[in-house]
């Protein structure tokens, strides 16, 4: 038996909707099988994975907190990936944004002013953008591959943060433990509603997604991104510059990653510490593709991925599933979503040995 794909004449509207549901169904079925093999009640397990985190208000807030940086970063990355710029160093830009945005509250801990927060956010965006500018510069100037440079810069940014928080920026009253002084109240990103911890980062994420969606859909710049991404030559004929696009997409995604970084530090953590991200910059790459590089899809994808993290914890606590199983389950979900998306663009045919067409493929 063989599997053959046949390109659909146009994108299937039906399967755009059905494919995620099919993926979910497959994940549920597989997950149920896996949990029962491990001797857990599959119903309980799936319930705590997908339903429990959605039942309480505080937990919905937590979902927004977890999803916000993923969405913010992924929206920026979608522009990069669509224009064929492979920025996989968002984690570093996130870190540098957090550092740059923290300069004010760390260096002037006594500065109480309503101005401080907007300045921090802007500096965070600049920090992230400048750091993404390094691979952009190297790519445009020396033709250096951005996958590698942006990835290497992640490690350097993390070590720089490590040095800052253990060295010059360490809180002198903190028993030498590696973290800065807590930010003053004015420097903390406020919560959206009184009912939970979710803060403005989620609003930023939604706004950014809508803005980028608008740009891609209705503005010339969006068209430029798509054309250059499909073919640099075609782009040149249309009068677009691939070089300028490198700068545009890298700076944009860097700025959004930087904004995510400073928002996370200011809103969720409240000070700077050696480790501020459980790999948001890398997870966001998956989010970007799960959302099919469409900013609105990315909002949904970010929320779903955040749900699997929360669900993993709920399942650990309520029925004692280990975090490794939770991660395997997360991996399964990703695989099913990615493979079911094939149905949107292709028809799948199973060819049995007898009915072999002309042997070419």
């Amino acid at each position: 038996m063989r599997i053959e794909l046949e390109k659909r004449p146009r994108v299937s509207g039906l399967f755009s909707v059905v494919s995620p549901l099919l993926a979910l169904a497959l994940t549920l079925a597989f997950g149920a099988l896996m949990f029962s093999l491990l001797g857990k009640d599959p119903m309980d397990a799936l319930y705590s994975f997908f339903v429990e985190p959605l039942l309480e208000v505080w937990s919905l807030h937590e979902l927004a907190i977890k999803a916000a940086p993923l969405i913010l970063i992924a929206v920026g990355l979608s522009v990069c990936f669509r224009s064929n710029n492979w920025n996989i160093g968002a984690e570093g830009q996130f870190t540098m944004g957090a550092i740059a945005g923290s300069i004010l509250p760390v260096m002037n801990p006594e500065w109480h002013s309503p101005m401080i927060l907007p300045l921090m956010l802007v500096m965070g965006m600049i920090g992230g953008a400048l750091y993404a500018g390094i691979p952009a510069l190297l790519k445009t100037r020396f033709n250096t591959n951005e996958i590698l440079t942006s990835l290497m810069l992640v490690y350097i940014a993390q070590l720089y943060l490590d040095w800052l928080t253990r060295g010059p920026w360490r809180d002198p009253q903190g028993y030498n433990f590696p973290q800065t002084k807590a930010f003053v109240t004015e420097a903390v990103l406020p919560e959206i509603l009184a009912s939970g911890r979710a803060h403005w980062a989620f609003i930023f994420a939604i706004l950014a997604a809508i803005a980028v969606w608008f740009m891609m859909r209705f503005m010339l710049k969006g068209f430029e991104v798509s054309v250059l991404g499909q073919s640099e030559r075609a782009g040149r004929f249309a009068g677009f510059s691939a070089r300028r696009m490198v700068w545009f997409s890298m700076l944009l995604s860097g700025a959004l990653a930087g904004l995510a970084g400073i928002s996370e530090v200011s809103g969720s953590i409240g000070h700077l510490q050696p480790i501020i991200s459980p790999g948001y910059g890398f997870t966001a790459i998956i989010v970007a593709f799960l959302g099919r590089l469409n900013p609105l899809g990315i909002i949904a994808a970010g929320l779903v991925l955040a749900l699997t993290y929360l669900g993993g914890e709920a399942a650990q606590l309520s029925i004692g599933i280990s975090d490794k199983v939770a991660r395997v389950f997360q991996g399964l979900l990703l695989f099913f979503v990615l493979s079911c998306d094939t149905l949107i663009h292709y028809r799948i045919r199973l060819i049995f040995a007898g009915a072999k067409p002309e042997a070419r493929g």
Binding site: F81, F142, T144, T149, I285, I286, V328
Partner: protein, 304 residues
């Protein structure tokens, strides 16, 4: 002392070189598999498990290779048969690999491992200095050298290698010429998985003969970086891998020697060095373009 340092560098560099070589072949065929870390850790746990049950690290090596190759099939099925996005699938493969290996290896934590013993090559191993460093090594080191020679020959001297590169450069024309694009890519991906699995086996049998979760600790990512660093040339993988290993070990020695530089700065050196060397190499636009597989990461569906 220099000899001992060199031996340490070789042990630290071998897994990077081996995994990078496998990925290089996959990428030459036009497939970008970012799941090296996941395949490597699967290789490590398979190798450790098989060695524990059979008592033979050689069976462990085979199991590591098989584990990596099988795991890569999952990636192959998604990206080649179902043409899912390669970047996302690779990352998902890493998540799955880290979780699955942790689950498989849960009972092995704290169990003493069996170390793969060096094989000294008669006569050659008696050469002063070089003999001990190069000819008194374990099988995986010898394999890594053989892989470099073999892959170089395969890619640039053999007909099949030429086909593989043709697919990587332009899968459309390669298909038109009657080359089985998908079949070749499956083989290349599995070769990449096998090499990552072998690298994982080196971790759990040679480097640190034990099993702990996440023991690959980011080495799969460095291997990925090495491929690009080497601009897809096997011999440069060797140079890059050893440069990286040398800087890593060198900074530890600098510390033990009492050179008072911030440790973070020293730890950042290998990454910075990679960027600098990369700039120097890629400055020459022509050579980079010649070596870069043009179809890298692009999906291929044969039209009928």
């Amino acid at each position: 002392m220099f000899e001992a340092i060199l031996l340490t560098v070789i042990t630290a560099s071998t897994p990077l070189v081996v995994a990078a070589l496998g990925e290089l072949v996959a990428e030459r065929s036009g497939v970008l598999n970012l799941g090296v870390e996941g395949m490597m850790i699967m290789g490590a746990v398979f190798a450790f498990a098989a060695t524990r049950y059979t008592g033979s690290p050689y069976i462990g090596i085979l199991a590591g290779i098989a584990g990596g190759a099988l795991f890569s099939l999952l990636f192959g099925f998604l990206t080649l048969t179902l043409v899912a996005n390669q970047v996302a699938t690779g990352l998902a493969l890493t998540i799955l690999g880290l979780g699955l290996s942790g689950q498989i290896g849960e009972s092995f934590v704290g169990q003493p491992g069996i170390k793969l013993q060096p094989i000294s090559i008669p006569l050659l191993s008696e050469i002063p200095f070089f003999g001990k460093v190069l000819f008194n090594q374990d099988l995986i080191f010898y394999l890594s050298v053989a892989l470099i020679v073999g892959i170089h020959w395969f890619l640039f001297r053999s007909r099949t290698g030429l086909k593989l590169r043709a697919i990587g450069d332009n899968h459309g024309s390669a298909h038109a010429l009657g080359i089985h694009v998908v079949r070749m890519r499956y083989l290349a991906v599995m070769f990449g998985g096998a090499c990552a699995g072998l690298a994982g086996a080196q971790l759990s049998l040679v480097y640190t003969p034990q099993w702990v979760e996440n023991m690959s600790a980011g080495r799969g990512w460095i291997a990925l970086a090495l491929v690009v660093f080497a601009s897809w040339r096997p011999r440069r993988v060797l140079a890059g891998g050893y440069l990286f290993g040398a800087v890593t070990i060198g900074q530890l020695h600098a510390q033990a020697f009492g050179i008072g530089v911030p440790t973070q700065l020293l730890s950042a050196l290998p990454y910075a060095a990679t960027i600098v060397v990369l700039i120097i190499i890629s400055h020459n636009r022509r050579t980079t373009l010649i070596n870069t597989p043009a179809s890298l990461g692009k999906p291929f569906v044969p039209d009928r």
